[in-house]
């Protein structure tokens, strides 16, 4: 028994030596807490996360890069370096004699250009002598960004171009995820609604929309039959129209190929019948 106690005492002594050294002999390094994941929990967001959110929206949900890219030159570049960065151009735009908008600061200019794209059209990119922008309003239709997401995109663009980020993280804004989720629940009831919902007018001239990137669809039913139109919506790259507005040849891959997956059957049917009747 005496030996047993002696051994137990000895073991505990050795252990306490080790623990003592580990606790007091060497410095304690606290590692940084695990990085938090981006969530639309705006209340707890840091600016870095907010900018990262903007990055995500810009490249994803906002579909901005569909046109603002280097491939088609459909719209001015926004997120490049130096001259290509829109936040660097914003102050110059405000002084531009052609500028007719209400914005007074670069931040407001950026917001305005997303919410009312035609307030200022960069030379060479609009129709009607550069007074009408082909860009859809990002807070409406299929894009449907929330105000918070628009702010995040501004923050992203400002950060990217190196100017000071002036946007404030909105507090208590409704989480945009919900708004997005609610949409598919109610299918459009008229062909016009379908066109608005899926943002066809962003590129095409159709109905009241005045898009000027893709082929004019106002009289498409005259020359194309129903099966062609079905295919053109479901698989846009199957046939490429020869002439796009401005006389340039149309670029393959511009039109999103996933409308077939996004539309409901009745929406698709309504849209095709509408196009067939557009003579």
């Amino acid at each position: 028994m005496k030996i047993f106690l002696k051994i137990v005492f000895f073991c505990i002594l050795v252990f306490s030596g080790f623990v003592g050294f580990a606790n007091f002999g060497i410095p304690q390094v606290k590692s940084a807490p695990p990085p938090t994941e981006e969530k639309l929990d705006l209340g707890n967001m840091t600016m870095d996360q907010f900018i990262a959110l903007g990055d995500k929206v810009f490249n994803g949900k906002g579909t901005c890069t569909l046109c603002h890219n280097n491939v088609g030159k459909r719209a001015p570049m926004l997120d490049g370096a130096g001259e290509e960065a829109v936040a660097n151009r914003a102050p110059l735009r405000l002084k531009d004699p052609r500028y007719k908008g209400k914005a007074t600061t670069p931040e407001e200019y950026l917001r305005e250009s997303m919410k009312t794209p035609s307030a200022f059209v960069v030379a060479g990119f609009g129709s009607d002598n550069d007074t009408k922008s082909p860009m859809p309003v990002v807070t409406q239709g299929s894009i449907g960004l929330s105000d918070a997401e628009v702010d995040a995109v501004i923050a992203f663009l400002q950060n990217k171009s190196g100017v000071e980020v002036t946007v404030k993280i909105p507090v208590g804004a409704p989480p945009s995820e919900k708004a997005e989720e609610a949409k598919p629940a109610e299918p459009a009831k008229t062909p016009e609604e379908v066109i608005v919902k899926f943002g066809c007018g962003a590129c095409h001239k159709i109905g009241k929309e005045e898009g000027a990137i893709g082929p004019d669809l106002t009289h498409v039913g005259k020359s194309k039959n129903e099966s062609y139109l079905r295919r053109a919506v479901l698989d846009p790259n199957a046939d490429i129209a020869k002439n796009c507005p401005g006389g340039a040849p149309c670029v393959p891959g511009m039109m999103p190929p996933d409308f077939g997956a996004k539309m409901t059957g009745s929406e698709f049917e309504m849209l095709v019948q509408y196009l067939v009747k557009s003579k």
């Binding site: 030996i3 050795v14 590692s31």
Partner: protein, 583 residues
């Protein structure tokens, strides 16, 4: 998530019916789901338990027992074979006693494995589900292999005296071989689960969805380095625990025969532990090199980041191991009167070991007070800074190994005098080999460390290790020839050692246990906030990486529980032998 949890964790799966069900469930799904994304709410909080600490401790206990239980049959088989070859019944008896100790530990390993499975199922259900979906087949195989392991162990142990003599002994040895084979395969499976969490393979890197080939998942990048490291470490660890057992029995036995027997047993297990300990730094070196190659981020987290100071802790522990091994050998010289010829050398060996140890222990980043910072003119010490890097450490550890081997060589000749005609010349050659080896190691370390391009800094390690190996092998060969038919000057009296030396054996076992716990924490901790590195995130409230002190406390708590159970097992074997003696 910690320690080997995930990992050895599933080691626990065993025959658990639940796991089998999960496996079936996984097989039914034709398409493989991505790794789940969890929130803090997905981790059940039950009864105020800290789930991470609970799983950590249980996993660590399971690992310790499993390492012990897997290692013992390896050297039991070897000792049994030696006993068969030399026809020395003592070896056979000792081998039997070794396996007897591990029998009680075997059932505790299984209990701990079951506990671990349950605690993972309870506290980390989603992670467990994900892993079972990936490892469905190997977990099923694991369960069956566990039966095979149990069966062969029971036949091997209970059939020891039944299968004795002639052909029957061969059958017994074969069963031992099967037992070791099955045990090793079991460990390889469990290792695959561990390394998958560090270097995932065979799953979609973006989503973590299984790609269909389970072999790819098992054969991940760090699997083989870890396999080697664990086999070697298990042997050293098993030896040290058996050594503690022998020490315990030695201190408790009154009769001369018993003392002699347990002294000899302790000595043998110490040799086994040292045999495993010597190659261990190099197996570890390979593992870390592969971790670097897999992910530089992980490597730097390990060596230069948050965990850098843990290596100072590790250095202290390994120093403690080396010192206690040497001390045990020095004390053991007292078994023979002939030792007086050599004891005066002890202090020089000790001085060399300590000098190497101090070099090994010197950190690259020093803890400085502001005054010292001013006195030094910066955070770097001009003369100590160079000691903090790899070439210096490699040099130190190699010389430390050679010095320990020198202690062993001297120990082996305390009771003998060589009678061959060239004895003096032979000793001179041996001395020259030692001097040359150490000289070469120092030259390589200094040359590569300080006079070459930075890209070649680690190039010295392989030639240094080879020098060490040459010194050890050459000395052993010369020794075996020189002491053939040597005259015995004073008999080696087993049992004639001071009780102090037995505490050295305890220090060895205790330090080894603690060291394993700590290194296990590091291995697991470098994943940081990931369950499965960069595939499945740990979103529980315990996802933070703890400080060294915190980890040390948890490891100590686990180690104390472990030692308590181990001493309990020793005590159990004591009363069982008392009963059989009374009959």
């Amino acid at each position: 998530m910690y320690e080997s949890d995930i990992a050895n964790a599933e080691e626990a799966v065993k025959s658990e019916a639940k796991a089998t069900e999960a496996v079936k469930e996984g097989e039914k799904k034709a398409e493989y789901p991505p790794a789940p994304k969890l929130t803090a709410a997905d981790y059940p909080q039950i009864g105020g338990f800290n789930s991470r600490i609970l799983v950590w401790i249980v996993a660590q206990l399971h690992l310790w027992f499993a390492a012990f239980v897997l290692a013992v049959p390896i050297f039991v088989l070897i000792i049994e074979a030696i006993g068969m070859a030399t026809k020395d019944q003592r070896y056979d008896n000792m081998a039997y006693e070794f396996i007897k100790v591990s029998m009680a530990a075997y059932s505790i390993t299984a209990i701990m494995g079951g506990l671990l499975t349950f605690s993972l199922l309870i506290f980390y259900p989603d992670l467990f589900k994900y892993l079972t979906s990936l490892f469905s087949r190997s977990m099923l195989a694991y369960a069956f292999l566990f039966f095979a392991e149990s069966a062969s162990l029971y036949v091997y142990y209970y059939g020891w005296h039944w299968l004795e003599g002639g052909f029957k002994k061969w059958v017994h040895l074969t069963i031992g071989l099967v037992l070791n084979f099955v045990g090793t395969v079991l460990m390889l499976f469990a290792n695959a689960w561990v390394t998958f969490s560090m270097s995932p393979n065979g799953v979609d890197p973006g989503t973590g969805a299984f790609l269909g080939s389970e072999w790819d998942v098992i054969h991940n990048f760090l699997w083989n380095p870890l396999n080697l490291h664990r086999v070697v470490a298990n042997i050293a660890y098993g030896g040290s625990i058996i050594g503690a057992y022998a020490a315990y029995k030695f201190l408790g036995s009154a009769s001369k025969e018993d003392r002699a027997h347990y002294d000899w047993m302790g000595y043998t297990s110490n040799i086994i532990a040292v045999g495993g300990l010597l190659p261990l730094p190099f197996a570890g070196y390979w593992l870390v090199k592969e971790i670097y190659a897999y992910s530089q981020q992980m490597g730097i987290t390990l060596m230069g980041g948050v965990f850098a100071w843990l290596f100072i802790m590790q250095a202290v522990l390994i120093g403690a191991l080396f010192l206690s091994v040497n001390y045990y050998l020095w004390c053991g010289m007292g078994r023979s009167e002939g030792s007086v010829r050599y004891t005066k050398n002890i202090k020089w060996i000790a001085a060399a070991v300590v000098a190497c140890f101090l070099v090994w222990f010197t950190p690259h980043t020093l803890v400085l007070t502001n005054q010292e910072l001013k006195a030094l003119g910066g955070p770097y010490h001009k003369y100590l800074g160079p000691l903090g890097i790899m070439p210096a450490k490699n040099t130190a550890v190699n010389i430390m190994i050679i010095m320990t081997f020198l202690s062993f060589t001297l120990y082996r000749r305390v009771n003998k005098i060589a009678t061959v005609s060239w004895a003096d010349a032979g000793s001179a050659v041996q001395a020259a080999i030692f001097a040359g080896g150490i000289g070469n190691i120092i030259f390589l370390g200094v040359y590569h460390g300080y006079f070459t391009n930075t890209a070649y800094k680690v190039a010295s390690s392989i030639p240094q290790v080879s020098s060490t190996a040459v010194v050890i092998i050459a000395t052993l060969i010369i020794d075996s020839m020189m002491f053939k038919g040597a005259k015995e000057v004073a008999p080696l009296r087993w049992g004639n050692v001071p009780a102090r030396s037995q505490y050295a054996l305890f220090t060895l076992a205790v330090s080894f246990t603690w060291l394993m716990g700590l290194m296990g924490y590091i291995r697991s901790g470098i994943r940081q906030h990931w369950h499965v590195n960069s595939i499945m995130r740990d979103n529980s409230i315990n996802a933070f990486t703890p400080t060294i002190g915190y980890a040390a406390q948890v490891v100590t708590l686990a180690a104390v529980i472990f030692m308590a159970i181990v001493i309990f097992i020793f005590w159990l074997s004591n009363i069982s032998s008392k009963k059989s003696a009374a009959h």
